[in-house]
Structure formats: structure tokens, C-alpha cells
Assembly symmetry: C2
Homo-oligomer: 886 residues x 2
């Protein structure tokens, strides 16, 4: 027969699957000899068996009774004893913490008889009746789903009429009568008087709470499997509400906000845990306990030190002091802020409690990213004007501008406000401190570009009606005009009128060399852990950078090269006119003339980049987007021309453009004439880019530099496409004197490229996974189109754990990545393999890429430190798994 | 040392790789004891060695000389012998026939001395000088690239001045002098007089011809590898131009046009083979030879019979009669028309020369498709008005209409003429005999839909300027108005003014039950071979059919069910208004009301289909396209609204629609909110369709029918999407009394579905590959957008052998198919797996699907017989491979 019940003295913390987190830690504390009230845990196995059949497994109640008897014997008190009754607390506790989902019933064992015994033993009749009313209320809610309001309403009414010392014993006894009536009305029978029946019903109710609506929703959100079940902890009651020498509190072994050492926490005299949670009375800092009860305080500090040494991490505890005696009710490894995570990990390593490797696994890339952004001083912030989607973290304050020209012309910091952004807004986004849009979600153009540039961005603020032409936006009755100051919080999405004070990011100042590591404990911790990450990681980190400025910043932040230079950004702005000429060209001669004018501009672009990244690889992607993206959109031109015609005017240049745009129109530009296809169809386009790169590199060589350019071909699906471009590139390179060797590689961004990676590797010096496009093609949805349309539904229904554009879909897209790495390397053992999609900066995905054996990730400059840290973690985890599997 | 030269008596027909097709067959005929002039073949190995180094491999000339000596000894005549010179013919001949690419030099061995010997031996001086001038001309062209025109010009001038018997010997001698001057001017030296030098230079020139521009282009088109090289056949000359008892001809063992038995061919007295090709004199039917030279005719018939028995197939031959003596110069398995292919294969099987299995491998699905379409009488056709792309075969004659309404209203046959078509033109396409467009290629909407419906279609006829509003189109100066009769040929793409006579397709009349198999030998042959295909095939054939009519037709043509019923076609026409209401609905109540109105219509659709396919599976795909496709296009609405505004008018309903279309606009609708996503986002949509299907099935059950519906979910990428829809479907099905069990399966049309097929199979009763979308996503191009833009470039550059939308890309897309079949079946052994993309009707692809282990293909009704045949062939080929590998 299965064993369904474990006494606290039987288990340990390794048994969280079976005993739940709380039960396992109670057992661990008991094992350490700490003062835990006696009790036992009913296992998750029992819960699963109950949920499967709807009935407790055979023998469960007998087993509970047997363990209860041991507890009774140990305490020499008995459940239901009319003179000195043992009371029990029943608490749920699953494998994973589910805050707010927890079911708790205290004071099991009280009834019309034992309430008198409790009063007699404690000498506190008021306390006894108060405990009884608590039991009826909790039991009613948990076992019968009676709304808490019904009880609270009566309690509030009584409190309102009671004197300054609160209700007296008689009043509470009357309240218990009222409660019992409420109970009977809802439950259809009287409150059960038999203590064992109370216990069994409570256990059963906890089991059933696993399938409650709110638990289900919570688990779906948190990706906790539905079939784990919960354990039930049954523990002898101890009371913090037995007078001024009693109390209850929570404590942390270090400050969970800053990581500073020392015991932190809150304490409440003459109270039970629920009173703290309910916030009825204000707590005092834990240090007060040193004054109130020095012995207990001293004992608590000893226990906390023991726990931290034992768990080798920040612990938090719940404790109760019953008439001067300290009891530990719970402990666990405690939650903490990002800053505290770094400081604690570094300090524990410093203290020798954990290794440097372990310290690295205690922090995440996401935490580092959070620490790099400036933040508003939460305390100083007024009511926001509106709330949008926090799309790119940071705190930005500036004057409102509505277009790029205004942004560029401004002297002080500005916030660019647009309904949505497109590539034309790029100069404005570069010039602005922050970007605010009224449309689009976390993967809209504004969001993606802003994250890439490290600009603060709030998007999809639907409450804003933006009128770009009038130069104002309105929110309800507020009208905000160009030039007015606003503040936006890229984390919370909040938007304020006026300036809200900002705290600078110490970590960012350190990473850009402005602060020394010694300046602050947090900075010292980041320095230590990032240094260790760099020492252990096997994955290189490059940056996606299109300009010399970006490249320099990336280098400063630790990038070992440029993994993706997108050349399309070089065709915007004033060059758009040249590109238009290229597109409208009539015949190869005009195409050639337009390309000839682009060549020196492009060469200058590359020269700047190669200079900034001297000695490090610079991977240049040949032109990728469809050419019609450089022309105005079809609908806009159609409207302009139709309007002109209706007014009897000549459409002029708009008419010419409309004809071209119509001819080039694509129903699905993502699946259209772009990437390598463009290079094979537009004669001389790629050759011009290759020549510009080669000439720039040659110029660097002649100047004594060490240029290391690489040519990357986009959107390849078949080796013959790549071979054709590589042939042409070799022909061009051979014509440029002093040009260094320039490797030619390819993006792997179509499923077919991954599926034929073995063939493609024959022509490719390197692979770089374009996981944005690869995700789009593998799932058959485009980031532009679907995120708003159904991602929220999918996330809610649990079809995605997280957007596959945020963290790589390891099952589907990841399978293509693994396959391409394996078959590419089999065909060409010295193949360099990287990734340059947005996933390259996502810590979760970086773990995947490290495991898949990539050589490097490339991400936006601001993500470089994040990627370095995540790569370090991944290396440690891989080592750990390896040694585990030995 | 390698052996580079094979005497005809050394080789056989299995050595085509080494000896080329011609050489191998010459050897085979020699082996059979047929009268082949002595000679030898220089191998493709020698050619490859030459091409690799630019020089003949060591010992090649010595080996040629040794073999030449044997030939000389056998004939007792010698190359260069001034009294009776041996002359040689040198001909190229690779592994694969490359018509028009072949290089031939005759009369090698003639020079200023031997020409006299030849005159003496033949007693025909004129013949000898004519032969010499032929040698100089062919040698000049082949070895030195001298344009044939330069020689032909002189010859024509001479012929013009000569008497009725042609030029005399003296005139020809003078012509030779002129030819030698032309030669010297181009070559930079005199015509080589040494016969062995002539021979070696000729062999070398043939080698080099392999790399000529036109050979390269031809090979690229025909997908013949570039590295095979050609063999060179050297043979003693025999002369058909030695007077009235000489001649030359070609013959077939059966009629290559109809397959009728008996020897067919053409004969030309007193001529060489080139004269036949040049068409200077008209040939006579071979039967004339019976009169002219009964002995040779009899011998030829014997030889032809021997060859057909030996090759077990139609053979064609080239022969020469030299003064009453018959020589065989070439044979091969002969080309034939589609009709002849069927008739011959069936007859040879009948005669016991080949097995029924073998007969099946002698015909192709493409040939059957060709035979199913009516055709114009080629002889009776005048000059076409214009030529477009032959997009859907057939011959259609009818009055010109420019829209669906006119097509539907017309009583007689009509041709629908549109710049391009869209789903709104569907009723018109159904009503029309043929479709003609001025834009789009073989995979445009018009082409795909027309092929699917078996409608004749010519598209992309760019010479047409179509003015739909005025109801006319113009071609140059011709103006064609609505109501005028035109004829279009869907095979050749030709368009004629007026009615061109049409031959009905016997095969189609047989397949639809109108003709008995005995009616015609061709029909009998198709009956026999299709019957055998049905007997041996393992692959089922279903049809893609959206209407009861289509389903009935498919069943008639042998479909074993409907593999794809697209429900979007059911939402067009008058129901568009309901769909518009659904889209514009404000809140779930209005959505529900619109769905409630659609339900009975949809139920009636399904009822018709289930009735037509009683007893056979009907796979219904839930709604797939994005909802905005049911609204007018954005650009159109924008223009309408902008025009109205410019005129100071209210946009009205257009304004409402524009707002909706803008809101729903997708940059890449192919990658947008469609398929299963739609079902999960629009509440009740899929449930309505499931309910309609279940109710229709229940109605059939109650009426004593045997409905076998299946529900297919489109665009699934993750098993959880499918599970959600399947759950909903089960809920709905449980509510419909009398509904049969309805399996729920999924399209596999996203790469991710294929990559996670093992997971998906857990929730799917069946898979159906949507290879159109799968191809689009795997390659990252959309059929709508890229075909015109770059497919022609890709086909030319050899990146595709054929459009991957026409025949499945076995390497890339096919890998996903194989993987999904294997992993799907591993997870669910009884999984049914089919394909319903356009590839399901492509014979090439059907071979792939059979090998991949699919259970069935589903194709348009008219392709069903083609698919049955192709499936039969595939089964035979699989058996053959299996027994070969034993």
C-alpha cells in the first residue's frame, strides 16, 4: 500500500514533488532541530488519487489518524479533549508556490465543547470565542464556498458597536451563533462538531481547491502542469494572539530589496498570520522585536543564520511567538529584486557559501536588463495620464514632438509621439529619448526598433488620439501640444504629464565605463558575476549594428564584432531619392547609373563600421527588403491620385509612383521579391554592395587597419541561390586591389535552408540563423500581422507559453536550428554558426542556442551584457548537466 | 590505361553512359547481325578527359588509329587511298538525345587527291565533287565555326544558274575552290588535306561542341547534367546519293502519331540524310520503296520487326540504300504522341511482348491529361490573333463576355475575358467554356482555378488591352467586342478571332461513360492501362470538390471520396452579405445572429455533397481564408472614399467598410489571421460549420444514406490548436442526434505541423498535406507574388528544375512530408495520410507521394484519371525497385 502521510520528522527538502514546497521545508526545519510545531503532510500522491476518483484513497483517513495520534502523544494533548484540546492548522502546499491560491483552515478541533477548554487553558475566553468564529469562517469558505463577506459584514458591525478594546467574550459568543446560522443556511446542515470530521473535510476541501477556477487560471498563466496536485500540511496550532507576549512576523535573512546583509522583516504583537495579511493593524520593523522580546529575537537571528547557511541562499520565514516561545511556521528560499539577486549571489560567493558558478545561476539576463534601464522614482510619481504597453524599458522625460524633423531639430530631450512608426521615423527615434505610440503591441515596429536601440518605448496607448497634422494629442479632456513635457515609463507603460523624477541606472553607468566597480555594492556584484560569465561562457556575443555609433557602443558593452549589419537602413533618408531612381530606372543603363551613385555612399557607410570594429568581424547582410518598401504605400498613393483626379488635377509624380507601386505590389511582401531573389533579379545590386564593402576594407588595409568584413546573403532557400551570389561576389572581390579575404555566408531563415543545410554548407563559410523570419515561416504567421489579432487569445488559452518571437520555440523552430547545425557542421566541420534574430538577446533563447552548439549570438548593443551573462549561465548549466549525467 | 575506343562489335545497348545512345544502339544492331557500316565509338570518358585538360588523353589517337585499321582491313579499303578511298562519317552522340545539338561531319577522307579516286570508283564525278564540297562546309562549320550561310549563299547562286539537272561536275569543282577560299579566310589556313588530321580534328571538334552555348542552354532546359560529355561515332560512309538505285529514309515500326501497327516512314531517292533534314526535296511515303526497290523494302521490314521484338517497343531507324544495298545508320526507341504511347503500350502487352506492368510504365499521367482535352484541328487553324500562356489545356470556342453576370446570362458557350480573375469571377468561370486573361502566369488565380475545374484557360496574353467597362479588348488594330466569337487553345496559348474547328476528346467521352472501350483503339488502350493501374495501385485517389456537381463528376471519373471540400467558396455570391454582417457585427449577439443565418445554408451545402458521395469519405475543411478577403480590397475602397470626399460627397457604406478593412488590414494575409486561428478567435464560427455538417449527416442517416464526413482543421501549427478545435467539435457533435462518428483531422501545411507531427497525431485522426502552403512556407515565397517576379529567372538559371508549385520539391518540402508521415504514424499507427494540394494531381509528385507511403492523393475531378494512372505507375516502379534491390 502507498504511504500517503509523512510526519515532519520523516521528510526532507528534496521531497518537494511529494510533500509540496511548504511540507518539504517544514520537514527540513524539523530535521535541523528548529522549533517547528509537530505535524505531518498528506502527500500530492493522495491528492492525485483523490482527484482521479473523487474519493480519498483507501486507508488515507486511517493513516492520518495514526499520524495524528503520534502528534497527540508527543504533545500529550488530544484533538477534541474538552479540557485542553489540541487544535490543528490545515494548509495546502503544492510543488510550486501559488500565492493567493492557498487554502488555510486554522483552529480545527474547536466546537461548542472544546471552546470552553481552550478558554480555560489559555485563561482567555475572548480569545477562545474569537478562535471559534475564525474556524467557522475559514471552514465555511473553504469547505462550502460561503462568501467571506457574509461573515465579515457581521464582524464589522460588531466591531463598530464594540468599545475601544474590541468586542468582549460575550459578544464574540453571540457572533459565533450568528456565524453558525450563516453556515447552516449555506451548507444545508449545522457546523460539524466532531473534530476528526472537521479535519477530514478540511483535507478534502484542500484537495478539491486544486481544481478551482482561480487555481486553474493561475496555473495556466504560470505554466504549472495541471496534474501535479497539492499536498496538505496538518500542524498543531500555536497562537500569536495570546496577549502582548505573543505575536507573529515574517523575516528575511537579507534585505530582499537591496540584498544588504542582516535580518529584515515585520512583526505584529498579539496577532495571527492572517491579521498581518489582512492589514488590519500596522506591523512594526523586526528590529522592534529586539526590544519587545530580546530572547526570541536572538533565537530568531540564530535560526535565520542556520537557515541561510543550510539553504545557501536568502531565506524568508514565517514565525509565531506564543507567550514568549518562538515557533517556525514556514521557510523558503526568498524572492528578491533584481538588484538584490546580484548583490546576494556575489556576497554568498564572496563568503564562500556558494561557488562562482553557482552565483551565476542565481541571476538572470532578464534581471540584468532590468538593472540597465533608468527608472522613475516610484514614490514621487503622480497619477498617470494614461497607461499603454511597456514595450522597451526605461524612464524617459522630454518635450513632445510629432515627427523626425522636429526630433532632430530639438536641442533638449524629446519624446516622439506617433500613431505608429515606420522606417521613415528612424531618425526621429534615434534623436528622441523615448517613443510613444497609440497603436501596436510589444512587437510593433516602434517596440522592436526601440528595444534594439535601447530607447524607452510605450506603445499601444489607445487612450491617446494623436493628430500629427495639428501637432497635438488628446486623452479625454486633456490636450497635449508639441513642446509640452511628458514622462513615459517603458516598463509599466505609464504616461505622465510633466516631469517625473528619474533615478539613473548605476549598472548602465558602470557598463559604459562611467563608474568603477567599487562605486556601489550592486555594481561590484554585477562586475563580479559578469566577469565570471565572460570567463566561463563558450558562446561569443556580437551585436546587430548598422552605424559606426552603434558599433562603438556595442564594443564598449563587450561585443566581439558585428553579427548583423542591415544595409537597408543605409538606403533611407536622402538616399531614398536614389533608390527611387533605381526602382523607376528604364533599362540596365539607368539601373547602373543609380547604382554608381549609391556605391560611394555605401562604401563610406562600411568604412565607418569597419573602423569602429577594427580587428573584429563585421557581418554585412546584402539588401533584404522588397524594393517597393522604399516607395510610399499603395493605399496612400491611390488616395492621393484619386483625390487629385476627383479635383480635376493631374496626378503628376504621384501617378508615376502609383504605376510603379501597382506593378510591384505584393499581396504578401514577406513572401515576395526580396533577399537573395532581389540580388539575382536586379543586375548589379549585390555586386555594388560587395564592391563597396571590398573597397572600404581595402582602404582600411592601406591605412594599416585590420578590417574583417563578412558577406551575408539573406533569404536563401537553395544552395544554388547562394552559389550564384557567391560566384558574383568572388568575381567582384578579385577586381578590388588590397581587399582582404572576405568570407561569404548565409542567413538560415527559411525552413528550406535549414532542411538543406548540408547542401548549403558546401557554399557557405558561415550560417547565421535569422530566427525572426524562421519563426514566421515555420509557424506561418507574420509578426506584423498576428500579434494583435490572436496572440493574446493564444497566450490565454495556453497555446503559447510566451510569444515565439520573444523566446525561441524550441520544439518547432528549434528543431530546424538543431538540424541545420548538425548537418551544416557534418558537411563543413569549420562552419561558423551564429544567430542574429531578436532571440539572440533573449536570455531564455540564449540557453537554447548554447545547448544547440552555436558559436555566437548577435543582439542589439544594449542586450550585449545581458547576452554575456546568459551565455555564462548557459555554460555553467551545461557543465552541471554533464557532471550530473556522469 | 583506359580503353577509350570501342568497335561496334564490342559494345551493346546497355553501355549508353559510355558510348552514348547512338553508339550503344549501333553496337546493338551490329551484335544482332544487322547491316551496319563498320565503325567504332570514342567514349564519353575520352570526351570528359579532353574537356578536363583541353587535350586528348594520352594514347587516344593511337587507339583510334588501331580501330581504324581494323575497319580498313575489314572493308579492304583505306583512308586516303587515292584510288578507292575509305570515307568516314563522324557524329556526336551523348547519353541523352540532344536534337539539333548534334555535330556531324561526313565524307572525312576526301581531299584534292582522293576526290578523283572517289569519282573513279563510283563512276560519278559530279557526286565526288559534291561530296567534297559537303565535307568542306560541314568541317568548316563544326571545326572552325564558319557560318553555314557563307557556303549556302554560293551553292544557291550556282543552283540558280545551273540547268534543270543541277550543277555539273565542273561547276561543282569550281564551287569547291570557292569553298576552300571561304575556309582559308575564316580558318587562317588552308583546308587540311591529310585524312587522319581531318579525322582527329573532327573528333576534337565534337568534344568541344559539348561546351557550346546552345548545348549548354539546351541541357539546362532539359536538366541534363553538364559533366556527362559526348561520345563520337566514326563510321564508314555509305552513300544514298549515288543515283536512282540509292536513297535514304527514316522509318518507324508503328505509326508514331496513332500507334497503328505497320511500318511507317519517309524515303528520298538519290539523297543523303542531310538532304532529308534540309527539306530541299520532298520525301515520299515509305510504301513507295516497295515499288522502287522491293528487295530492300522487304529486308527493311524484316529488320524493323527484329528491332521491335528485340527492343520490345516502337523503334525508329535511319537507313541508306547504296546502289541497292541496305545499310542501317541508327536506331532508337522512338518518340511518339500521347495517343500512340497508349495504343502501342496496350498492343505490345496484348501481343505478349511486354507485361501489363511494363505497359503501364510506358505511359504517363501527363499524356493521359493531354488526351482528355479537346483539341483544335491543327491543320484548319489560321494565324492566331495573339499568343498567351497555355495555362489549362483544352480548346474552347465561344462569344466574348467580360463579367460573370454576362457569362451566366448567356445561352451559348462563352469565353470569359478579364485582365485577371479573383474569387468573384468564379460563377463566370463555371459558366464559361474558357477563360482568357491578359495578366498572370501558370499559377495565377485564373490558371489554378481553371485547371481545377477542367476549364480551358489562356492567361498572361499581354498583347491584349482589355477594357472591361467599355466591353472590348484590343490587339494592335483589332478591336474585339463582347459577343464576338473567339477560339482559345489552352495548350499552345493561341487565341484566334472566329471559330476554329475542334476535335472532341475520345478519351474524355470514354471516361465519363459516353463511349464504350471498344469504340476506338485509343480508348481501348486507355481502358486497359487505366484498369491495370487501378488493379496495382496502393494509393487511393480522392477529389477536391466543393459542390455536389463537382463531387458527382469526380465520382464518375473514379474518385473514391472527397479529399478536400473548401468551405470558403460557400461564403461567396449572395451569402457575401451575411459574411459582411458577421464581420461588421458588434458583439457576440450579432455574430451569433449572422452565424444562425449561415447555418441552414451551410447544412444544405453539405447535404448535397454527402448525398453525391454517399458511402465514400467527404473531408470538409473548416473556413480557412482571412475574413477580410470577403470584403472589397483596401486600395479600391480607399480610392472610392477619397474620390467621394474630393467630390464633397458622404462615403456612406463604403466608409463603414473602409474602417473595417483598415482595422483588419494585414500586410501579409497569407501569414495572418486565418485557418485555425480564425476558429479560435471568432467564437461560434467553427462550431456553426461542425453543426451544419453533423446535422446534414444526421439527415442522411435518417434517410437511409451512408454519409462519411470528416472534419479537417486548416493551418495548425501546434497540437494545442487542434485539440481546442477538436474539443469544441466533440461538444457540438454530441448535441446532434443521429449524427455518425465524424473523425477530426488536420491539414499539415505549416512547417511546424510537419516538425511536430508526432505530437499532433495524438489529436488527429488523419493528416492531409496542404503542399501549396507547405511549399510557400518552406521556401518563404507566396505563389501569388513571386511567380512573375522571379520564377522565370530561377528556371533559366537552373535554381529550379520546375516550379515547386507544379511538382513537389522532394528535397526540401518532401523532407517535411516524409518526416511527418514517419513521426505521425509512429505516434498513431492507424493514422490516415493524404495530400490535397495541387501536387495531388501532378504525376511526378504522385510518384513521390506513393514512395512516401501516403494513403491517398486528392486532386481536382478532371485530374482523377491522371492520378489513378500515375498511382499505378508508381506502384509498378516501387515493385521494380524492390525486386531490383533484392
Amino acid at each position: 500500500m502507498s504511504k500517503y502521510v509523512y510526519d515532519f520528522i520523516e521528510g526532507d527538502r528534496s521531497q518537494a514533488d511529494l510533500l509540496g514546497g511548504k511540507g518539504a521545508n517544514l520537514a527540513e526545519m524539523t530535521r535541523l532541530g528548529l522549533p517547528v510545531p509537530p505535524g505531518f503532510t498528506v502527500t500530492t500522491d493522495a491528492c492525485r488519487a483523490y482527484l482521479a476518483t473523487g474519493a480519498p484513497p483507501d486507508g488515507l483517513y486511517e493513516e492520518i489518524n495514526a499520524h495524528l495520534k503520534e502528534v497527540e502523544a508527543r504533545l500529550d494533548r488530544w484533538l477534541g479533549d474538552p479540557r485542553d484540546p489540541l487544535l490543528l492548522a490545515v494548509r495546502s502546499g503544492g510543488r510550486y508556490s501559488m500565492p493567493g491560491m492557498m487554502e488555510t483552515i486554522l483552529d480545527i478541533g474547536l466546537n461548542d465543547t472544546t471552546v470552553a477548554g481552550l478558554a480555560a487553558r489559555t485563561g482567555d475566553e475572548r480569545f477562545a470565542w474569537d478562535s471559534y468564529r475564525r474556524l467557522i469562517q475559514m471552514f465555511g469558505r473553504t469547505v462550502h464556498g460561503i462568501p467571506a463577506d457574509e461573515f465579515e459584514h457581521e464582524l464589522a458591525a460588531l466591531r463598530a458597536t464594540a468599545g475601544p478594546d474590541g468586542p468582549g467574550a460575550g459578544q464574540l459568543r453571540d457572533l459565533v451563533d450568528t456565524y453558525k446560522k450563516i453556515f447552516a443556511r449555506h451548507a444545508g446542515h449545522d457546523f460539524p462538531q466532531a473534530p476528526h470530521e472537521q479535519l477530514f473535510l478540511a483535507v478534502r476541501a484542500v484537495f478539491e481547491s486544486w481544481h478551482s477556477e482561480r487555481a486553474r487560471i493561475y496555473r495556466r498563466q504560470e505554466r504549472i502542469p495541471d496534474d501535479l496536485g497539492t499536498a496538505v500540511n496538518v500542524m498543531a496550532m500555536v497562537f500569536g494572539n495570546l496577549g502582548p507576549d505573543s505575536g507573529t512576523g515574517v523575516a528575511f535573512t537579507r534585505d530582499p530589496a537591496t540584498g544588504a546583509p542582516g535580518v529584515y522583516g515585520d512583526y505584529l504583537t498579539d496577532a495571527q498570520g492572517e491579521d498581518v495579511v489582512a492589514g488590519i493593524r500596522n506591523t512594526v520593523p523586526l528590529t522592534e522585536l529586539a526590544r519587545l522580546d530580546p530572547a526570541s529575537f536572538h533565537r530568531l537571528r540564530e535560526i535565520m543564520a542556520t537557515l541561510e547557511r543550510h539553504y545557501r541562499d536568502l531565506c524568508d520565514v514565517e514565525f509565531t511567538i506564543e507567550r514568549g516561545r518562538l515557533w517556525m511556521l514556514q521557510t523558503r528560499v526568498g524572492k528578491r529584486t533584481a538588484a538584490a539577486a546580484f548583490v546576494i549571489a556575489a556576497q554568498l560567493a564572496e563568503e564562500g557559501l556558494i561557488t562562482a558558478d553557482e552565483a551565476l545561476t542565481r541571476v538572470t539576463g532578464a534581471q540584468l536588463a532590468q538593472l540597465m534601464f533608468p527608472a522613475f522614482d516610484a514614490a514621487g510619481a503622480p497619477e498617470p495620464l494614461a497607461v499603454g504597453v511597456g514595450a522597451s524599458p526605461g524612464a524617459a522625460v522630454g518635450r513632445v514632438v510629432f515627427d523626425s524633423a522636429a526630433a532632430a531639430a530639438s536641442t533638449g530631450p524629446v519624446i516622439l509621439v506617433r500613431p505608429e512608426t515606420n522606417p521613415d521615423d528612424l531618425p526621429g527615434m534615434i534623436a528622441a529619448a523615448g517613443v510613444l505610440t497609440s497603436r501596436g503591441g510589444k512587437t510593433s515596429h516602434a517596440a522592436v526598433v526601440a528595444r534594439g536601440m535601447g530607447r524607452t518605448c510605450v506603445c499601444g496607448a489607445e487612450a491617446l488620439t494623436i493628430d500629427v497634422e495639428r501637432g497635438e494629442f488628446t486623452v479625454g479632456e486633456h490636450v497635449v501640444r508639441a513642446g509640452e513635457v511628458i514622462s513615459i515609463d517603458g516598463t509599466s507603460g505609464r504616461i505622465w504629464l510633466g516631469e517625473v523624477p528619474v533615478q539613473p541606472s548605476l549598472v548602465a553607468r558602470y557598463l559604459t565605463g562611467e563608474l568603477r566597480p567599487e562605486a556601489d555594492p550592486l555594481v561590484a556584484a554585477v562586475h563580479r558575476l559578469l566577469g565570471h560569465a565572460d570567463a566561463v561562457r563558450t558562446l561569443g556575443v556580437r551585436a546587430n549594428a548598422d552605424t559606426p555609433d552603434d558599433a562603438r557602443r556595442a564594443r564598449e558593452l563587450g561585443a566581439a564584432g558585428v553579427g548583423l549589419c542591415r544595409t537597408e537602413h543605409m538606403f533611407l533618408g536622402e538616399r531614398r531619392e536614389l533608390v527611387e531612381r533605381l526602382i523607376l530606372a528604364d533599362g540596365p543603363a539607368e539601373v547602373g547609373a543609380a547604382l554608381d551613385e549609391l556605391l560611394p555612399l555605401q562604401r563610406a557607410d562600411f568604412l565607418g563600421l569597419l573602423t569602429a570594429m577594427d580587428g573584429l568581424p563585421v557581418t554585412v547582410r546584402l539588401l533584404d527588403p522588397p524594393l517597393h518598401e522604399f516607395l510610399p504605400p499603395l493605399a496612400e498613393l491611390t488616395a492621393r491620385v484619386a483625390g487629385a483626379q476627383a479635383r480635376g488635377e493631374e496626378p503628376g509624380h504621384d501617378g508615376v509612383l502609383l504605376t510603379a507601386v501597382r506593378r510591384m505590389h505584393e499581396t504578401n511582401p514577406m513572401l515576395g521579391l526580396r533577399g537573395v531573389r532581389l540580388g539575382l533579379v536586379v543586375p548589379g545590386l549585390f555586386a555594388m554592395q560587395v564592391r563597396a564593402l571590398a573597397e572600404a576594407a581595402a582602404q582600411r588595409v592601406r591605412a594599416g587597419g585590420d578590417p574583417r568584413p563578412e558577406i551575408m546573403v539573406p533569404l536563401v532557400g537553395d544552395v544554388r541561390e547562394l552559389a550564384a551570389v557567391a560566384d558574383e561576389a568572388r568575381r567582384v572581390l578579385a577586381e578590388v586591389p588590397d581587399a582582404p579575404e572576405i568570407p561569404v555566408g548565409t542567413m538560415i531563415e527559411t525552413p528550406r535552408a535549414a532542411l538543406t543545410a548540408g547542401d548549403i554548407a558546401a557554399e557557405a563559410h558561415f550560417f547565421s540563423f535569422g530566427t525572426n523570419d524562421l519563426t514566421q515561416m515555420t509557424w506561418a504567421f507574420s509578426r506584423d500581422d498576428v500579434e494583435g489579432a490572436f496572440f493574446s487569445t493564444y497566450l490565454e488559452r495556453g497555446i503559447f507559453p510566451v510569444s515565439p518571437f520573444e523566446s525561441i520555440d524550441a520544439t518547432g523552430v528549434g528543431r530546424l536550428v538543431r538540424l541545420a547545425v548538425a548537418e551544416g557542421r557534418a558537411a563543413r566541420p569549420d562552419l561558423t554558426v551564429g544567430v542574429c534574430g531578436e532571440h539572440g538577446g533573449d536570455p531564455e533563447s540564449i540557453g537554447f542556442f548554447a545547448a544547440a552548439g552555436l558559436d555566437y549570438v548577435s543582439c542589439s548593443p544594449y542586450r550585449v551584457p545581458v547576452a554575456r551573462l546568459a551565455a555564462g549561465r548557459a555554460a555553467v548549466e551545461a557543465r552541471t548537466e554533464k557532471s550530473d549525467s556522469r
